[in-house]
């Protein structure tokens, strides 16, 4: 992350609960105006890290520097951020207007000024008429927007979102994803979001921070982490991936079963036992031209075919792979055009430029 000034810097954050190490050696810089996602499975420490940024947990060691100010040991009220929780935590006995004005009333602002600000925020989140209602009268998505408006009301320099969409149904979640991102871009407010939903992270963020077992595995743009995963965990956690057992036979060449594959992954010593990571979509199919003459041409038989809506996912027995199966994507058109069905034999080629090589575990 290079662009712009830094809004937030974490240095060597370490957190232990008794003997359990929740976070270790976390170093991270969040640039001004970006939306950064902490992504990982439950228990990876992403929420703990967010709560440390918010001052709701205290790190065992390490520093939190916000806008150049060391807030490592400042209580939450002495830090500058707005926060939206998974549960929204809207005050049930206060109207939407009073909820949004909650942090403003304390600022000795004129009533009219506060009213105007509340109206502005309600308009911003697309609920201009919700003011007199109580939270229980709103849908989950509407409550979520109000929580966002309340967090933004005091114009914080940092917005923290803790799994903000996970309590919503799929449609509502998708819509709010776009809305939050648009709002964030418009206000250019630095935002840190925690999620376990990879689609959410990839579609919304400027940068994704992939976490596992209390450490950061990779930081990168959504495209980076998807196409060039730094660790097997990242490759496996984001999207689907084939893991093939192989042995290096020379520069960029790997043998899987009886087949030798050409890749652009160099620098592995000959004879090393490796794992080849390749996504189901990284293949060339005969509808794009004859594949038999391409590098890494293979033939396989479709064992099972799962219909997943916009595409199908086939599990294939590949000739010469010695029983290692591969998942391959087909669009619905390709399924028809190529006559893909269970039992069908089919030529295809693998994209060597997309193969990622990792050392075999224990090797």
């Amino acid at each position: 992350m290079t662009t712009g000034a830094e809004a937030l810097r974490l240095e060597g954050i370490h957190k232990a609960f008794g003997s359990f190490v929740a976070l270790q050696a976390i170093d991270l810089v969040v640039p001004e105006g970006e939306l950064v996602c902490f992504l990982g499975p439950s228990g990876c420490g992403k929420t703990t890290l967010l709560r440390i940024i918010a001052g709701l947990e205290t790190q065992t060691s390490g520093r939190v520097i916000q806008q150049g100010r060391d807030v490592s040991h400042a209580p939450p009220s002495a830090r500058d951020y707005g926060i939206v929780f998974q549960s929204y935590a809207l005050f049930p006995n206060l109207t939407v207007r009073a909820n949004i004005a909650y942090g403003l009333v304390n600022r000795r602002k004129a009533r009219a000024e506060i009213e105007a600000r509340v109206a502005e925020l309600l308009k911003l989140v697309g609920l201009p008429d919700a003011g007199p209602k109580y939270p229980s009268q709103l849908s989950g998505g509407q409550q979520q927007r109000i929580a966002l408006a309340r967090a933004l009301a005091t114009a914080p320099s940092l917005l923290l979102l803790d799994e903000p969409l996970s309590a919503l149904d799929a449609k509502e979640r998708e819509r709010l994803r776009g809305e939050i991102r648009a709002l964030q871009r418009r206000l250019r407010v630095t935002t840190v979001m925690v999620t376990h939903d990879q689609e959410e992270a990839l579609s919304m963020s400027d940068h994704v921070v992939v976490m596992n077992h209390g450490v950061i595995d990779q930081v990168g743009t959504p495209l980076d982490v998807y196409e060039r995963p730094a660790t097997p965990f990242v490759a496996d956690f984001l999207g689907k991936v084939n893991v093939l057992h192989g042995v290096c036979t020379g520069e960029g060449r790997y043998r899987v079963g009886q087949v030798e594959l050409e890749t652009q992954a160099n620098g592995v010593p000959s004879g090393a036992s490796v794992r080849l990571y390749l996504r189901p979509e990284d293949r060339v199919l005969p509808d794009a031209g004859p594949v038999e003459s391409m590098p890494n041409a293979l033939t396989g038989r479709v064992r099972t075919l799962d219909f997943l809506g916009t595409y199908c996912l086939a599990s294939m027995d590949v000739d010469g792979f010695d029983g290692q199966r591969m998942l391959v994507y087909f669009s619905l058109n390709q399924v028809q055009a190529l006559g893909v069905k269970e039992g069908a034999r089919l030529p295809f080629a693998l994209r060597g430029d997309r193969v990622r090589i990792f050392a075999a575990p224990g090797a």
Binding site: P76, S77, A89, F91, L187
Partner: protein
């Protein structure tokens, strides 16, 4: 960046160490209050039990000499017989009653339920007085005693009857809660397999209710073991440990032996408390989120039988209450049934207890307001603030302790602690304040649990959101936490009031002639042979508790309608 207009609303980032200090200070305050008014008095009790009259350490000599006395053996077996029989009577009756309400289609369930709860409003001595009216030497139903082979109601029979009445509502409430945790799916599965009603009852209902039954048994047993009023009024010569303590401490000023008996009394209660605690923990795992509550379908035979049972029980309870009330308004039971108010006027004056009722009102009101405020704030500090983590488990433990400490034991602890010449808090001794404080502590556990449950029901992030908005925690406490928890706070208030009106066990050691309470005066009036005035005092207590309970329900309803419209709103 934000626009300039927006920046005008930006947070003035200030360090609020004061707030953090207030949060920690609150915790320290709660911990020290519980220490001074609960733990230290009990520790004092422990110390005195191993000292002689002169204050020299004598080890377990006091225990040895007391345990060796034949009086102890008698009191101990009597206490166990009394508590055991009461439990054997109360729990099955309560189960039948609760089963009828929860698992049948009898009409007017609300009415029966409320009748079953009436004894809570009465001092336990009221039942004893009623049973004396009914079965005593001049009893109206004395002949019925012969049918079951008894010669006199005084002693064990009267005690068990009275205690069954007094503990019945507590058992019913626990069993009701246990029965409400039922999964209809189990019954549907059994039906699909063609299971008989009786087998379903044995294989699904009873196992499902067993934790509730054990819990109810432990509560009833505990109440009986530490009961003082009932044996005093109807026990005759049937000595129990609670009476021994009273005689040793008040009669002979023998604090050492009093402390010994108090500690011995603590044993069975502590055992019951631990069993109950273990059982409750298991019960929480019984229901899953997928369970569907069971709804009874009409079954004529079963419903008819249960309705008959419920009517008989309710009638019996109304008879017991009604008997004492009636007795308080007639000249000389059972010879002259003319209406009179002299038990309420002349009777009180003659015994010098005409201030007692007023004192009780004052004390109960203090307990209701101060108790609810202290308990709720204590629970709030424990649940919703951060920091001072070492003290939290200490507070939690202390908050649950009063449940396992009989009032008599607490009372002696208070005498020993606050009457100690070196105690700077000694000025409290004999005042109304100490009565209020001891009563709040005595009933702290249940109130604390009610407050904790209410607070746990709130979103755990309110405080975090407030902090992020730079709103100090006390503003959120005032604007959100208290309003949302108000119904529970009123419940706590009512609980304190009613218990302060009816309690006797701790305060009987702590009152002074000036702070004589209504409940204690019942014992005194009864001892002086003035059963009519004793009943009059008991009637006043029941009436007051009932009125205040109704008023608090009305207030709760009014508040809910007026300020808490948000609760009932839906989209």
């Amino acid at each position: 960046m934000s626009t300039t207009a927006e920046r005008a609303f930006a947070a003035p980032v200030r360090r609020r160490w004061g707030e953090a200090l207030a949060a920690r200070g609150g915790i320290v305050l709660v911990a020290s209050a519980l220490l001074v008014f609960l733990t230290l008095p009990l520790a004092m009790l422990l110390m005195r039990s191993v000292e002689d009259r002169g204050g020299a350490f004598v080890g377990l000599a006091n225990f040895a000499s007391y345990l060796a006395s034949p009086a102890f053996a008698r009191s101990a077996t009597n206490t166990l017989a009394f508590a055991g029989l009461t439990t054997l009577f109360t729990v099955p009756l309560a189960f039948g009653f609760a089963y009828a309400i929860q698992r049948s289609c009898i009409p007017w369930k609300g009415v029966w339920r409320n009748i079953a709860l009436i004894p809570i409003l009465a001092p336990s001595m009221l039942a004893a007085l009623s049973f004396i009216y009914l079965f005593g030497n001049q009893g109206w139903l004395k002949v019925a005693l012969g049918w079951v082979g008894l010669t006199s109601v005084y002693g064990l029979p009267g005690m068990v009857l009275s205690m069954t009445f007094a503990s019945f509502p507590h058992a019913v409430m626990i069993v009701l809660a246990g029965l409400s945790l039922s999964d209809a799916r189990l019954y549907e599965a059994a039906d699909a397999l063609g299971t008989s009603e009786w087998r379903k009852f044995l294989t699904i209902t009873l196992p499902g209710a067993r934790y509730g039954l054990i819990s109810a048994a432990m509560v009833v047993f505990t109440m009986a073991v530490s009961e003082f009023g009932v044996p005093k009024v109807i026990g005759g010569n049937y000595n129990v440990l609670a009476i021994d303590i009273y005689k040793q401490v008040i009669g002979q000023q023998n604090f050492q032996v009093g402390a010994v008996v108090g500690l011995l009394l603590l044993l069975p209660v502590l055992a019951a408390f631990l069993v109950d605690w273990a059982v409750r923990r298991k019960q929480q795992a019984l229901m899953t989120a997928r369970s569907v509550p069971y709804r009874a379908r009409p079954a004529r035979g079963r419903d008819g039988l249960l309705l008959a049972f419920v009517i008989v029980m309710s009638a019996a309870m109304l008879l017991v209450i009604g008997m004492a009330v009636f007795g308080s308004f007639v000249k000389v039971w059972p010879y002259n049934l003319e209406f009179t108010l002299r038990h309420y006027t002349y009777g009180f004056e003659e015994a010098g207890v005409d201030q007692a009722y007023r004192n009780s009102l004052v004390m109960a009101t203090w307990c209701a307001f101060a108790g609810a405020a202290l308990t709720f704030l204590g629970a709030y500090w424990l649940e919703k603030t951060r920091g001072a983590n070492v003290l939290r488990p200490v507070i939690q433990l202390q908050a649950m302790m009063p449940m396992a400490v009989p009032g008599l034991v607490l009372g002696i602890g208070y005498i020993l602690f606050f009457n100690h010449p070196a105690n700077p808090l000694g000025f409290l001794y004999g005042t109304m304040t100490i009565l209020v404080l001891s009563t709040i502590i005595h009933f702290y556990s249940s109130s604390h649990l009610t407050a904790v449950t209410a607070l746990k029901g709130l979103d755990g992030e309110f405080e975090a959101v407030s902090a992020s908005l730079k709103v100090p925690f006390y503003k959120t406490l005032w604007r959100v936490t208290i309003p949302v928890c108000l119904p529970s706070i009123i419940d706590i208030s009512r609980y304190y009031f009613v218990n302060a009106m009816t309690t006797i066990s701790a305060v009987v050691f702590l009152y002074s002639p000036k702070s004589m309470l209504a409940s204690i005066s019942i014992v005194q009036l009864d001892e002086a042979g003035n059963v009519g005035s004793a009943s009059a005092m008991a009637t006043l207590i029941v009436a007051t508790s009932a009125v205040v309970t109704l008023l608090s329900f009305a207030a709760e309803g009014w508040l809910l309608r007026r300020t808490q419209g948000w609760r009932t709103l839906s989209r």
